[in-house]
């Protein structure tokens, strides 16, 4: 008590001593917090810089690995438009990522077609319909689903889904777009559920009452009141799901069949951009064209991620501007 109520001169000087320590440590703590904040930006910039730097020789040309003294240079037109990815060919290596991009996009789109309705439905159920115990159990289970490592998902696709798809579709192999799409959908569902559930729960209860008092049943309330009110959050949930789909590596590596081809149906195997990097970077000769091209694929993935985030930002901002007019 005597320290906190400085009635004597000794009490005052004691407090002053503590304050001196605080005066000294405060800037250090503030500095540390600033550093934590900036570190995220620094790390992202550093990663981007490194990937970009490693990919640059592929575009500008590369001398040491070149055959017969010629400067080897990546043909960017071939890179973006050719479906042929034959990096280790002794005669003529071809670096075309069209098939890989189509592979990534087809798997991601299919997974979203499955995961968005499933995830939104689950979020609506958890936030609006489930009550008490079942609701708590569901939330824990959904979070648990998010914690399953992607290699386990890949294993499920390989060992469980693969023979099932063979039985059901009559295809010789069950590792294809459909398999990867289903696995990826199941992986994206938890994140879509938790983000969109937050968005739905953030809708004020007065909106629900307004809808109900006007005679809406529960489905109409969800569809006509909650979805418009929570659309920013729901959109963010979907975009996070897409981001997850494009970036996922291990599961799609195991489930797509990993063969470079332009798919004509969802029963065709494909290969994705991420899986290509994961599978080949360890084998590629450090410093040669294959190695640098793999990093260029990394840049392409960066561009994808950037476009998705920018779109999300613009849509959310666009909605806000409209709301403020």
């Amino acid at each position: 008590m005597s320290e906190s109520s400085p009635t004597t001169s000794q009490g005052f000087s004691l407090r002053r001593g503590i304050e001196k320590v605080i005066d000294f440590t405060e800037p250090a703590v503030v500095g540390l917090i600033h550093l934590c904040g900036w570190s995220a930006i620094i790390f992202v910039m550093a990663i981007f810089f490194f990937v970009f730097k490693e990919s640059l020789p592929a575009i500008t040309g590369l001398e040491e690995g070149a055959i017969q003294g010629e400067v080897e240079q990546l043909d960017l037109v071939e890179f973006t438009t050719s479906p042929k990815w034959i990096p280790e060919s002794a005669k003529k290596p071809t670096f075309g990522i069209l098939a890989l991009m189509v592979g990534t996009l087809s798997v991601t789109i299919l997974s979203m077609v499955i995961a968005v309705p499933l995830g939104l439905g689950a979020a609506v159920y958890v936030s609006e319909f489930a009550r008490g115990k079942p609701r708590e159990i569901l939330k824990v289970l959904i979070e648990l689903l998010a914690a399953i490592p992607s290699v386990v998902w890949g294993f499920i696709g390989l060992v469980v889904l693969n023979p099932m798809l063979v039985d059901m579709t009559g295809e010789p192999v069950g590792l294809n777009i459909l398999n990867a799409g289903i696995v990826l959908a199941l992986m994206s569902v938890p994140i879509i559920v938790s983000v969109s559930e937050d968005a739905l729960r953030a809708v004020p209860d007065s909106f629900r009452e307004a809808g109900i008092a006007l005679g809406a049943n529960r489905w109409e309330m969800v569809y006509k009141v909650l979805f418009p009110a929570a659309k920013n959050g729901l959109l963010a949930a979907v975009l996070l799901g897409i981001g997850r789909g494009i970036g996922e590596t291990m599961a799609v590596l195991m489930c797509t069949g990993h063969s470079v081809m332009m798919p004509t149906s969802i029963f065709d195997p494909v290969r994705t951009l991420t899986a290509t990097i994961a599978a080949e970077l360890g084998e590629a000769v450090r410093g040669d064209m294959h190695y640098h091209t793999l990093f260029l694929i990394g840049v392409v993935l960066f561009v994808f991620a950037f476009i998705i985030n920018l779109t999300a930002d613009l849509i959310v901002k666009g909605i806000k501007v409209q709301g403020n007019e």
Binding site: E209, A213, A229
Partner: protein, 275 residues
């Protein structure tokens, strides 16, 4: 909707002239309501006359909002509500098995304490109820526009918002939002409008305007209004029901209640000695 023959059994609350049963919009008989174990309404028997403004007054927690929320069965959205007794709205027991809650809520509109226009355009807010109740798509656009215009004119909002019908309803001032919340009930042609402290979120000027609006709704609609504001109850209502701890203490003409309260507790409350 009211195909059932009106029950003319004599009840203690029946008016002296029992042949004018249709003069009542809302009748409750021995209504009890529990939230879990807590009894919020006790033997509430009340007759609310058609075409007038009835105020529900009483201290916080006396059950006036609960009673109001019984009339469109919106109480039921909380799972732990138990009700016994009858509520007849327009001579139809709303707990009968053949009652459609949707139709009930169409003829019994509700305005809330905090203005709650939906986060869609003003235009869509007015038509929201229509979208739920009617084969809405068959209406030509011009007719929809007329419906919106009439509803907004009726609440004296048309001239202010006619140039920005497509902007978000949440951008309006609170007073305008509350008027819009009343306007969106009107296309459904309700018989009864329930209001749960409709002015408590508004400033003095807004209160005056919304009160004027409520008064203009008299005759065409039966209005039941919960209020904490004694001055407002006195100004804006024709009859008043005073409630205390889930029971009806007194139900008379507003002028009677404020000039000559029959119960000591009513008198103490309206004089502001407690509550």
């Amino acid at each position: 909707m009211s195909t059932v023959v009106p029950k003319l059994v004599t009840r203690e609350f029946t008016s002296p002239d029992a042949s004018h049963v249709e003069d009542y919009s809302i009748r409750t008989n021995e209504l009890n309501l529990w939230y879990g174990d807590f009894q919020a309404l006790m033997n509430v028997s009340v007759n609310i006359k058609k075409g007038i403004i009835t105020g529900l007054i009483g201290p916080s927690g006396c059950g006036k909002t609960t009673l109001l929320r019984c009339f469109n069965r919106i109480n039921e959205r909380y799972g732990n509500v138990t009700t016994t007794g009858d509520i007849e709205i327009l001579d139809k027991n709303i707990y009968d098995a053949d009652v459609s809650v949707r139709q009930l809520r169409r003829s019994v509109g509700m305005v809330f304490q905090r203005p709650n226009p939906l986060p869609i355009s003003i235009y869509d807010n007015v038509l929201f109820g229509m979208g739920i109740h009617d084969a809405f798509k068959s209406l030509p656009k011009s007719e929809r526009n007329d419906i919106v215009e009439n509803a907004l004119r009726e609440v004296d909002l048309w001239s202010t918002v006619k140039d920005r019908l497509k902007s978000r309803a949440t951008t309006l001032t609170l007073e305008q939002q509350q008027k819009l919340c009343i306007a969106r009930l009107l296309p459904l042609k309700p018989d009864i409008i329930l209001m749960d402290e409709p002015c408590s979120a508004l400033d003095a000027e807004g209160i005056e305007k919304v009160e004027t609006l409520i008064e203009s709704l008299r005759d065409e609609y039966t209005v039941v209004i919960v209020t904490h504001n004694m001055a407002q109850a006195r100004r804006a209502t024709d009859e008043c029901i005073f409630m205390l701890l889930g029971e009806i203490i007194e139900h008379t003409k507003t002028s009677e209640m404020f000039l000559n309260p029959q119960h000591e507790k009513t008198e103490m409350y309206i004089q502001g000695r407690y509550g």
